[in-house]
């Protein structure tokens, strides 16, 4: 095929593109991901039964805030990474800002706490459940984020996949937070953070396979 013929074909009757479509799709993916994570978590692990306590509600909100920060930083970074050359615009470390900030706060909480409480604060009672549930629940939101990325044109597939994992893990953590009864800052930082890091690693491994174009 002659390149001139291809050019002629591509440019004949070219359709205008819809500029706002990308952000609409991304917003749709975020809403869908958060809603499905919460639904799956409620259906499988169930809602914690002690929510009438104000102190507990505070921790639930804190977990939501942490997960929400992870998702919003991730989505912002992803909107760059989804476009050709987007990986050059920001350092990947930037996407980990919420986790680093939370680890710092958690470290302060540990320093302030009595030594005998340290183990309970970090390990909680259900750390393994947390570490497993968050990546498992993240599968559906991850598929939604991949759907979006496949309509775009990421040129760094490892990084795009990794950040897709972070976003999915963050959404999943929102759902899991409704069930989780381990209420301490260090627990959230270590195990929620750890579970999201696992999602990021899985995403980075899968990225080149799923996102190639």
């Amino acid at each position: 095929m002659k390149t001139d013929d291809l050019i002629k074909m591509l440019s004949t009757n070219v359709e205008p593109t819809d500029r706002s479509k990308i952000s609409r799709e991304l917003a749709g993916v975020v809403l869908f991901g958060a809603a499905t994570s919460i639904t799956i978590a409620l259906l499988t692990t169930g809602l914690r039964s002690d929510l009438e306590n104000a102190h507990i509600l505070y921790f639930l909100l804190l977990k939501f805030a942490f997960a929400g920060m992870v998702v919003s930083f991730g989505v912002f970074y992803l909107s760059r990474l989804s476009r050709p050359g987007g990986e050059k615009m920001r350092s990947p470390l930037w996407a980990t800002a919420p986790l680093v900030a939370f680890l710092a706060i958690a470290a302060l909480a540990l320093i302030a706490a009595p030594v005998m409480h340290l183990r309970t604060m970090v390990m909680g009672t259900e750390w393994l459940e947390c570490l497993i549930s968050i990546p498992v629940i993240a599968v559906v939101p991850f598929a939604a984020v991949v759907w979006f990325l496949r309509r775009m044109a990421p040129t760094d597939l490892v990084r795009a996949g990794g950040v897709a994992g972070v976003v999915a893990g963050g959404m999943s953590a929102m759902g899991y937070a409704l069930h989780c009864t381990d209420d301490s800052l260090p627990f959230i930082a270590v195990w929620y953070g750890g579970a999201i890091v696992l999602c990021a690693l899985a995403g980075a491994v899968l990225g080149p396979k799923l996102l190639r174009w």
């Binding site: 095929m1 013929d5 050019i7 070219v14 819809d18 500029r19 050709p84 050359g85 040129t155």
Partner: protein, 185 residues
Amino acid sequence: MAANEAELKSLMVKALEGESLAYRALLDVMSRYLRAFFRVKLLGQGRSATEAEDLVQEVLLAIHTRRHTFDPDKPFTPWMHAIARYKLIDYLRRTRGAYADVPLDEVIDLAVDVDTGQAESGHDLQKLMKSLPEKMQRAIQYVKIDGLSVAEAAKRTSTSESAIKVNIHRGLKALAATVAREEKS
């Protein structure tokens, strides 16, 4: 580089608004840069000019089907470079394992002589088109090759205008995907 960022970008902005002439001019300029770029990268490794042209066409198709990913608030040339570079690395990886380690710094430099040879790739458009579902074939044939309007094509195929548009869009995406997989796989 001879053509400047401002010129390319203004063509791209018009193209995204649906101006066929601007889009054609842009594709013309880009194809010349891409040809020169891929020839420099491939001929030095004992690859043929036809392979370079395969890649030019693959990139043009990729740019077309993913043109919505260009953000008009950002410069155009880095966007184009990123696609060209991505496709080159992808091509070298899938055509020979030994080329997996492409030094990125060398690849980035697009400022090469503009080459205007009469260029032909190893792709066969007829064959590619036949691999598509019939409704996509017809939509592309009528609107993109014969130059009928979307409304006329809709009347001829007794479908809706939006069905024609969707079929063109999906058909070209499928062509781009086939081209990206068939080269010496």
